[in-house]
């Protein structure tokens, strides 16, 4: 069966520090991968999605970047965090024309 792992679960980082959130998927090949951010009252905002290794599409210009170094690994990064980067980050995977499956999320607090 397929599983998705996302870590860390919680993270407190100072303003200006770097960020790296990792997501890995098991039990499937060549998935579509997604990073979402959730803020209260704003639903899930799609940040990045990837249809293959090295292929990243950005939905919202901001202080974040994403990379997909391996087929089932998706990384969300920032060189310098801002207060506004605080939120709940969710990784998801999907095969073509199916539903999306989500990780348990990372609560990021920038202080």
């Amino acid at each position: 069966s397929q599983t998705i792992h996302q870590w860390p679960a919680t993270l407190v980082q100072p303003v200006g520090s770097p960020l790296s959130l990792e997501c890995t998927v098991e039990g499937t090949s060549n998935p579509n991968l997604y990073w979402y951010r959730q803020a209260a009252g704003r639903g899930l905002q799609l940040l990045f999605y990837s249809v293959g290794i090295g292929q990243i599409s950005s939905e919202v210009p901001q202080n974040l970047s994403a990379s997909r170094p391996q087929d089932r690994q998706f990384i969300l990064s920032s060189k310098k965090l801002l207060l506004s980067d605080s939120g709940f980050y969710l990784c998801a995977w999907r095969q073509e024309n199916t539903e999306a499956f989500f990780g348990q999320g990372t609560r990021l607090t920038v202080v």
Partner: protein, 114 residues
């Protein structure tokens, strides 16, 4: 571009009462539609999905949803709500073809009172 509207930010129902959560979508082709539920601090769990065929779909936990193409709606229903149903509910539309995006609504927070 596709979009999803959930007009109710917050709904309160009594335990045992019926529930309907509204969802309207905008998408140029035949959509893939989903309802997810999220407990606080957790990821999202799929309740049900519509791809094609019967427009009334059954999901887990006693939920159902009806796809109405003429109204661009996919409302979620449950005949009798349990206290454990208190959570946030998200409607989503999935694109077909090249870009494979899933776009979510802003969510409806359900409170269940005894």
């Amino acid at each position: 571009a596709q979009s999803v509207t959930q007009p109710d930010i917050h709904i309160t129902v009594s335990e045992g009462a019926s529930l309907e959560l509204r969802c309207n979508y905008s998408y140029g082709a035949t959509p893939y539609l989903f309802w997810y539920v999220q407990s606080p601090g957790q990821g999202l769990q799929l309740l049900l999905k519509y791809f094609s065929g019967d427009t009334l779909v059954q999901g887990i936990k006693g939920f159902e949803a009806e796809f109405k193409r003429s109204q661009s709606s996919f409302n979620l229903r449950k005949p009798s709500v349990h206290w454990s149903d208190a959570a946030e509910y998200f409607c989503a539309v999935g694109t077909t073809g090249g870009y494979q995006k899933v776009t979510f609504g802003t969510g409806t927070k359900l409170q269940v009172i005894p």
